[in-house]
Structures are given as structure tokens and as C-alpha cells.
């Protein structure tokens, strides 16, 4: 987001407009001057600090990691042996899950392996999934879940999908368990909580690729390393949900636990965790979805499955195959999301599950029968290849046809945007010297949240400067800012419309629900399909991915306007239009701002992934570091992305909080 944009956004919120208006104008004029100054007029240190002033974090990190891996030792064993040992332990459950779902029990390794027992037949898996769907949500969910898995079989994605599923089946429970334990400790020990909260903030804003690199270093290349990355990625929300859920247990229930004479351990295990179960299950759903998202990204460090298929297709620009695998991911994501959500919803009501035993017995019996049957009837074991449908050629053909007939049109659109919007904005951002940007951010921080916020924002702005990443950070800000701008311009009006019309909301809600379910990876495919690689393509993918919160928050903001206020307006003779612009929008503005905040966060996380389609920004920096296994560089670039995210988050939140406070306080004054 550009500095000027931040400034104008806050201007209506400030009560004393005078000095702020002057300051904003001054910053705008200075920014324009910086833009129009010919090259070389500004001293070079203003765009990039010379190396001798940098803090050298990247080389330091690399050195530490190198020392850890090569020299560190605990006496009996080395650090590397410890991490590799840890990886081997984790490999056991993953191996079992993979054997059951995908490869079967094998003797030996690689191509010399001999299959001792086949994996679960596809019919068994489809049956189990449908049965779970029926139990959690009735026939409709059974049909949806069963249908989804049937789709995977029919369209030839079974093997990859089961590989992906097996890493989720292992990663998600481990992530949930680790998150629960961390969350409980955070709840019980305030000092630990104060330590963990900023760490969680950082973990959620650092770009995902950034911690693939140290993991690659410590745990080696392969499915286990990918799974560890997945668990780390999916962990923070579970920790947060656990802490919030425990805090949210009604005071009286905790008091009852005390009065009943529970020990501290009984209090957690028998009173608080069970009482918080519905909220905790929401966290479980999040862990599953994030695991799925990350499993795909993690295919870069050795996870096989659908993500690997998409990745290789994208690299070869084999749109048809990529699209097919991408669709399979979408289908898998929707099925897992609906299943876990239905389970969580049901947990609110369902209690003593008396009839669980016969259900489980029937399930086990079904699996056993199909398994034995599968040993003799190949059709039961594996979906016959002859009946598989591949849409890849069809998609490739469609894309070819589009490109043949519409290439000029698409290219014209792309060129138009590149020449008239993207390139000028990029040049404008690149021309900004860091002292000016830091000053403007500091001013915004000071006006919105006081001295502490100003200090925080300025130090975060200086982080890329001190690490010699200023230009590339501004490049990131440009792409992210433009994408957020478009996402907001498209999303907020849709959200407002959905907020005003319940009928529209019924259509829009499932669409944005689904948009949010899909792993970020998937959004690249159609964008690349139509517009090839480059900034414009990346922007499209980011807009698609980051759109949902803008819509959702805007709709929520409009709907939560007290009806009383609208009635008051109507009774004073407001037209519907006036009611919207004079009452509903101003009241909803703080909420809408929070939606933009979420959009910024999603845009930044997507940005890194777009490095795959050839952008030149921090994302690319991290991606390059990943391919070269350069931990220091990758981590520094990742932290720069985190710095952008935290600056945007704190400023927007402070602005929204101020607006909201003014709204509620202003009523008395007026």
C-alpha cells in the first residue's frame, strides 16, 4: 500500500484536520518530487544502504545454521543427528499412513520395492468417507464427501490425492496436539503467553517459503521435512484458538470446577477443555485446511501428491494437467472442510455418543470385506484405468483455443494495465527514498496510535533498509498495494450489496466460503492459463485469493448497523441512498477497514507464492533462496514480508479502533 494511500485513508478520521492535511500534502509533494527527480540526484544511500552500514543478518543466520548442522553437538550425539533422528520418528506414522492409503506395505526401497500388501481399496475409502459424512451431517454431506472422493478416482487423481491425504492425516492430528499443548501452557503461564504471542504473530506473517529453508537444512529433503513445515505452518491458529477457547470458558464453570475440588490437572482435562470443545473443533478445522494448503507448498521440499503434480505442470506450463490436479485439490479441500465443519457443528449438540460402537464396527467390517474382496477383484482394489476420464487434453485444447482466438485481446488488456498502471506505480514506489517513507509511516503511526506505534512502525520500516532489501521491499509493496486496492474496489461493493440484500448474501456467502477454502496455489492456474507469467498474472491471482475478507467484512459491517439507526434515518426522511451513504457506510467503516486489513494479510501470503510465475519481489527472493538453500537470505526476505504485514496490520487496526472509538464517543458530543 502506498504511503499516500495510507495517509488519505486516515484523514477523515482525524478531528483536527488542519495540521494533518498540511502534513499529508507535504508528504505527497515530497513523494512526487522524489518520483520526478532524475536518477542520481538523490544520494545513493537513500535508496539502498551501502553494505558497510548493513547489519548482516543474512550471513549471521546462515553461519549459525551452518554451525548447528556441521559442528553443534550435545556430547553423545550431534545436533544434526538429533534433527535427523526426530525426522525418523515422525517418519513412522507418515510411512504407515502412506502405506495404508497410497502405496501399500512394501519391502525394500525405491524401484526395487516389492509390494507385500496392497493399500486400502478405493471403494473402501469412498465408503468410509461417505459414512463419516452421513454420521456428521446426514445424506447430503455423505453424497458430497463420497462424490468428491469418487471424482478423484474417476478423474485419475486417486494416487496423488491419497498421498496428499496421508500427509494430512498425520500432520493435522500432530498439529492439533502440539497446538493444544502449547495453548494450554500459554493459558496457564502468563509469562509464556507474553512470549508466545509475538512469536505467533511473526509465524503467521513470515512468508511460508521462508521457513521451508531452515527446515530443509535441518531435516533434509523429503516428505517428513515437508510434513514438519506443514505442522509448523498450521500450528499458530490452533494455539490461538486454544488460548481463546480456554479464556472463553464461562467464569461460573471455572468457579464450579474449583468449588467441586478439582486439582489443576482435572480442571484442564475434565472441566475446561471439554467445555471449550466446540471452539476447539473450529481450530481443528483450520488446522486441516492450513495443512492442505501447506502440503502443496511443501511439495517444493519433497512432499509428493497433488501439490507436486501442480508444481511440475506449472513449471512445464502444462495447463491441462495443472488444472486437473488443481481441481482435485479443490475437491479434496471442500470435502475435508465440510466434513470437519459438520463434525464441529455437531459437537455443539451431540453429546453422549451412545451409538458410536455399532457405527465403528460396521465401518471396520466394511473396510475388511472390501479389502479382502480387493485382493481377488482388481476392480474393487483400484479404479480401472479404462474407465478413467482425463480432462487434461480437453483443458489444454480449450486453453489453446482461447489463446489462438483471444490471445491479442488478452495481451492487449495485459499490456494496457502494465503500461498505464503497473509500471508507473512500480517506478513511483521504487523512486521513494527510505527516509521519506519511514517519516511518513512514523507520522501516521504517531497520529493513529501515539509514540509507541510510531516507534514500532519506523523500526519495522528500517529493518529492510538495514538489511539492504529496501528496493525489493518497495517492489513488494507496489504489487501487494495494487492488488489490495483492486481487491477492495471489487470486494467492498459486493460486500455492501450482500449486506443490504439477504438474497444476494445467500448466493455470495457460499462462493466466498469456497474461495477461502481453496489452497492459495490453485489461484495461479487460471491466471497463468490466460495471461502467461508476469506481474499482471500475479496481481490477478492475488486479487482472487485476497478478495474474500473484503466482501465478508463489508457485508458484516453493513448488517451489524443497528436497525434503530436506520429507522431513525428513515423517520427523518432519508432516501435509501442517503441512508446508505450517511448512516450505514459511516457506521460500518471500522469493520470494512478490518476487512481490508485481512485482505492485506492474504495478499502478502499469496505474493510469495506468485514468485512461481516470475515476479521480482521479496517472494522471488525467498524462492530463489529456497532453491539455493540459502537460509540467511530467505529468512531475511521472509522477515521483510513480515515487517510489511505488521506495519499494515498495526496502522489499519489503530485507524479502525480510533474510528470506532470516535463513533461511539461522538454520539454523546453530538
Amino acid at each position: 500500500m502506498t504511503v499516500a494511500a495510507v495517509e488519505t485513508k486516515i484523514s477523515p478520521s482525524t478531528t483536527r484536520l488542519g495540521p494533518d492535511t498540511v502534513a499529508i500534502l507535504a508528504f505527497a509533494v515530497l513523494a512526487l518530487i522524489a518520483f520526478f527527480l532524475p536518477d542520481g540526484v538523490l544520494p545513493a544511500w537513500m535508496t539502498e544502504l551501502p553494505p558497510r552500514f548493513r547489519i548482516g543478518l543474512d550471513t549471521a543466520v546462515s553461519a549459525v545454521l551452518k554451525w548447528l548442522v556441521e559442528d553443534a553437538s550435545f556430547g553423545l550425539f550431534t545436533f544434526k543427528e538429533m534433527t535427523r533422528g526426530f525426522a525418523q520418528v515422525l517418519n513412522v506414522p507418515l510411512d504407515i499412513a502412506t502405506s495404508i492409503l497410497s502405496t501399500g506395505l512394501r519391502e525394500g526401497r525405491g524401484s526395487a520395492a516389492v509390494q507385500l500388501a496392497p493399500p486400502l481399496p478405493w471403494i473402501a475409502v469412498v465408503g468410509v468417507v461417505s459414512a463419516l459424512g452421513y454420521r456428521f451431517g446426514g445424506w447430503r454431506l455423505a453424497a458430497l464427501a463420497g462424490g468428491a472422493f469418487l471424482y478423484l478416482a474417476v478423474f485419475g487423481q486417486w494416487e496423488s490425492a491419497m498421498l496428499t491425504l496421508s500427509s494430512i492425516v498425520v500432520a493435522a492430528p500432530l498439529g492439533v496436539a502440539a497446538g493444544l499443548v502449547t495453548g494450554v501452557i500459554g493459558y496457564r503461564v502468563p509469562a509464556f503467553r507474553r512470549f508466545i504471542t509475538p512469536v505467533l504473530d511473526l509465524m503467521q506473517t513470515v512468508s511460508t517459503f521462508a521457513y521451508l529453508i531452515p527446515i530443509l537444512f535441518l531435516f533434509g529433503f523429503g516428505p517428513v521435512a515437508a510434513m514438519i513445515a506443514t505442522i509448523i505452518y498450521a500450528l499458530p491458529p490452533m494455539v490461538r484458538v486454544t488460548m481463546a477457547a480456554l479464556e472463553g470458558v464461562p467464569r461460573e464453570i471455572v468457579e464450579y470446577g474449583t468449588m467441586a475440588g478439582t486439582t489443576p490437572r482435572q480442571m484442564i482435562m475434565k472441566v475446561m477443555l471439554p467445555a471449550a470443545r466446540p471452539q476447539l473443533l473450529v481450530g481443528v478445522n483450520q488446522v486441516i485446511m492450513l495443512s492442505l494448503n501447506m502440503v502443496i507448498i511443501a511439495s517444493m521440499i519433497g512432499a509428493g501428491g497433488l501439490g507436486f503434480d501442480v508444481l511440475t505442470s506449472l513449471r512445464r506450463l502444462d495447463i491441462g494437467r495443472g488444472l486437473e490436479s488443481g481441481l482435485a485439490i479443490v475437491v479434496l479441500a471442500i470435502a475435508l472442510d465440510r466434513l470437519s465443519q459438520a463434525y464441529a457443528d455437531g459437537a455443539r449438540k451431540r453429546g453422549a455418543e451412545g451409538d458410536l460402537k455399532p457405527f465403528l464396527l460396521a465401518l471396520v467390517a466394511f473396510v475388511a470385506v472390501t479389502y479382502v474382496l480387493g485382493l481377488f477383484v482388481p476392480f474393487v482394489a483400484t479404479y480401472p484405468e479404462a474407465l478413467q476420464i482425463s480432462t487434461a487434453p480437453w483443458w489444454s485444447e480449450a486453453v489453446r483455443w482461447i489463446n489462438v482466438n483471444f490471445f491479442d485481446a488478452f495481451d492487449a488488456v495485459k499490456t494496457f494495465f502494465l503500461l498505464n498502471l503497473l509500471l508507473p506505480v512500480k517506478r513511483f514506489m521504487m523512486a521513494q527514498p527510505w527516509p521519506l517513507v519511514a517519516a511518513a509511516l512514523g507520522y501516521a503511526g504517531w497520529r493513529l496510535g501515539g509514540v509507541r506505534l510510531a516507534v514500532l512502525v519506523v523500526s519495522l520500516a528500517l529493518f529492510p533498509v538495514l538489511n539492504g532489501q529496501w528496493e525489493i521491499t518497495m517492489m513488494t509493496v507496489y504489487l501487494c498495494g495494487l492488488s489490495v486496492l483492486f481487491a477492495a474496489l471489487i470486494g467492498i461493493p459486493i460486500g455492501i450489496y450482500a449486506g443490504l440484500s439477504p438474497r444476494a448474501w445467500r448466493v455470495i456467502e457460499p462462493v466466498i466460503d469456497t474461495l477461502q477454502t481453496l489452497p492459495s496455489f490453485v489461484y495461479l492456474i487460471p491466471a497463468v492459463m490466460l495471461f502467461r507469467v508476469g506481474d499482471f498474472t500475479a496481481m490477478l491471482a492475488i486479487i482472487l485469493y485476497a478478495l474474500a475478507p473484503s466482501v465478508r467484512y463489508a457485508a458484516h459491517g453493513i448488517r451489524q448497523v443497528p436497525p434503530m439507526l436506520i429507522e431513525a434515518g428513515t423517520s427523518m426522511g432519508c432516501t435509501p441512498r442517503q441512508s446508505l451513504t450517511r448512516i450505514q457506510l459511516p457506521v460500518a467503516l471500522p469493520t470494512i477497514l478490518l476487512g481490508i486489513n485481512q485482505t492485506v494479510m492474504l495478499a502478502l501470503s499469496m505474493l510469495v507464492i506468485t514468485a512461481l510465475v516470475g515476479t521480482r519481489d521479496l517472494g522471488q527472493q525467498v524462492y530463489m533462496a529456497l532453491t539455493k538453500a540459502d537460509t540467511g537470505k530467505g529468512l531475511v526476505a521472509g522477515l521483510c514480508v513480515a515487517a510489511i504485514a505488521i506495519v499494515a496490520d498495526r496502522l489499519i487496526n489503530a485507524g479502525a479502533a480510533r474510528l470506532a472509538a470516535q463513533r461511539s464517543g461522538g454520539g454523546d458530543a453530538a
Partner: protein
């Protein structure tokens, strides 16, 4: 040893900067000015109460008067800033965490305003929960749990989950659960406040019926003076953290300590509160009487009889000795004064 079950002396609960240090510095009873200048908010100020074995002791006050905080200090759910709480001769504030757990498991029961049932457990498991955490096996704990469920009239609903019950039924579970350990002191924190008026009345009656059979020592919190009068043997009225007055309902109505108490008692149902003893006058020499009324009986119980009789009634003490008379005039003055005030 006296008959007191629970005693608190000079109990303070302050919310502010370093409240313990403040109390050490300013002695047992700091002045309002000192409290204010130190930025201390008083939740409970200098409360001293003695709760006798077997009585229903009501703590009544409006919201924010500190009654909930006080009862939580008595059970040490909240740590008091200073003062003493003596429970059956044991200084509760000096008890170790382990001792507290033991005390609570065996000697205390508590009922909550919003029931505080564990949402994931059935009625049976909720009632058996206090035994479960004591390590009692499933079979041994289910028998007493079923008995308690029957006692509160919920038999047949053992396998329901809390959300499947009405508010009144949920509170019955809360009551059964708090009684299963046969506690010595029973804390009830606004137990019926979250219920509809009709259900509330029914539950109050049920509560009185239970107490007639159990004779528990009870600390009962309410903000409803009428409820306090209905259930309480003695009532403590709280205002801004301080105990303003302690007495029987009759004491409070007849001689309110200040305007605040008077304001509460203004609309109190006097005919249900005043006894014959309270309104009787000395008999005139050779005065004929229509019959005898026990001294403890309430005006409401004999008003009709006195009203329909030309002659006054005699008032008899426990031994049957006549100690005074009540006439139509005395009865009318109780009934009418309520009218006039309203």
C-alpha cells in the same frame, strides 16, 4: 466451640494498585479518603458475619454491592485482600491448596446463577462429577447420583444433556450436583435469578422443602428482597461493599438501620413478616379473648380470623402462656400501612 459454621472478620477485597501493601499500611479499617487517594476500588469493605449451623443466611444487595464477591471470598474462590474466614474452626485463608481441594470436595457445595453445568456431560454424569474427581468408580458414584436426581425430581432424564433441559430443570441438576457430597455449608449464588417468575416461585418452594429435610447451613445470595424474606432466617444487607445491617426480616422492616435499608423494606410484604409477638399489646385487665394465637405466627396467617371477630385474640408463647393480645386495629395497621406506602 460455638454453633457458628462460618465466620468472617474484617474481610476486605480491594481492586487497585498493590492492595495488600495498602492494607498493611492503613491498618484494619482504612478511611474512605485513604482508599480514594490510593486509587483502590472496594468490592468488599470490612465485612464481619457469623453464620450459624443450620440457618439460611441471606446476603442481599443490588448488583455491584459486593455480595457476589463476598460469597466468593467466603469460599476463597476469590482471594480476600485482608481479614479472616473461619470455617468450622479452620482458618480458610491459611489453608494450603491441597487442604482447600479436600475441603471443597467434602464440605462445600455451591449453586450458580447460570447453573454452570458441564455442557458435555449428561445429567447423571454432571451430578456424579464431584464424586468422579474424587476418584470414586463409575458404579459406586452412579447410585448416589441417581438418588440425588430423584430427590430433585428429575428421574427419567438421567441421560439428557444440559442444553436439552429448561432453565428450572438445569438448576435442579445444579442443586443435585452440589448436594451429592453432603456438604456442611451450601453456597447459593442467586440460584433462581435467571428463571421466570413462576418457575422461580416453584423452585423457592422446592428449596424450602429440601432444607426442611436437610437442615444445611446455607449462604444464599439474592438481589430480590422478597426472595430474601421468603427463604432467609437472617438477612445481611450490603451496599457499596459494606454490610449495612444484619437481622431477621422482621428486624429489618421494624427498625431499618438507615434510609437505604428502609427503601428496600418499604414494599416488603409486612403481613408475611410481622409475627403476632411483634404487633401485640399488653392485655387489659380481664379482657375477653376470642382464642389463642402462637406468638411466632405471621399476621397473614391470622389476619382473617382476627378481622372477622369482635373480640381480640390472645397471643401465646411456646409454653401456651398468654403474653399479650392482638386486635383488629393492630392487624389493620400492618395491612394498611403497606397500602399507604405503596
Amino acid at each position: 466451640m460455638t454453633n457458628a459454621t462460618l465466620v468472617c472478620r474484617n474481610l476486605w477485597k480491594l481492586y487497585g494498585p498493590e492492595p495488600e501493601r495498602f492494607m498493611e499500611k492503613h491498618g484494619p479499617s482504612p478511611s474512605e479518603a485513604a482508599l480514594k487517594s490510593a486509587g483502590q476500588v472496594t468490592a468488599v469493605a470490612d465485612a464481619s458475619l457469623t453464620i450459624e449451623r443450620g440457618e439460611i443466611f441471606v446476603i442481599m444487595g443490588l448488583s455491584g454491592s459486593g455480595k457476589s464477591t463476598l460469597v466468593r471470598c467466603l469460599s476463597r474462590l476469590i482471594e480476600p485482600t485482608s481479614g479472616e474466614v473461619i470455617f468450622e474452626g479452620v482458618d480458610l485463608l491459611k489453608a494450603s491448596p491441597e487442604d482447600l481441594i479436600e475441603l471443597r470436595r467434602h464440605k462445600m457445595g455451591m449453586v450458580f446463577q447460570h447453573f454452570a453445568l458441564l455442557p458435555h456431560l449428561s445429567v447423571l454424569d454432571n451430578v456424579a462429577f464431584p464424586l468422579e474427581i474424587r476418584g470414586v468408580g463409575r458404579r459406586e458414584r452412579e447410585k448416589p447420583a441417581r438418588e440425588m436426581i430423584e430427590l430433585v425430581g428429575l428421574q427419567g432424564r438421567e441421560n439428557y444433556l444440559p442444553y436439552q433441559l429448561s432453565g428450572g430443570q438445569q438448576q435442579r441438576v445444579g442443586i443435585a450436583r452440589s448436594l451429592i457430597t453432603n456438604p456442611d455449608v451450601w453456597f447459593l449464588d442467586e440460584p433462581f435469578s435467571a428463571l421466570d417468575p413462576l418457575i422461580r416461585r416453584e423452585m423457592q418452594n422446592e428449596f424450602m422443602r429440601l432444607q426442611d429435610a436437610l437442615h444445611k447451613t446455607i449462604v444464599f445470595i439474592t438481589h430480590d428482597f422478597e426472595e430474601a424474606v421468603r427463604v432467609g432466617d437472617r438477612i445481611a444487607i450490603m451496599r457499596e461493599g459494606r454490610v449495612v445491617q444484619v437481622g431477621t426480616p422482621e428486624d429489618l422492616v421494624r427498625s431499618p438501620a438507615d434510609d437505604y435499608v428502609a427503601e428496600f423494606t418499604r414494599d416488603a410484604p409486612r403481613s408475611k413478616i410481622f409475627s403476632a409477638r411483634a404487633i401485640m399489646r399488653a392485655p387489659k385487665a380481664g379482657e375477653a379473648i376470642a382464642g389463642l394465637i402462637p406468638a411466632a405466627s405471621k399476621v397473614r396467617e391470622f389476619a382473617a380470623r382476627v378481622d372477622s371477630s369482635e373480640l381480640p385474640f390472645g397471643v401465646a408463647d411456646e409454653s401456651g402462656q398468654q403474653i399479650g393480645v392482638v386486635d383488629r386495629r393492630a392487624v389493620m395497621s400492618v395491612l394498611v400501612s403497606a397500602w399507604e406506602r405503596a
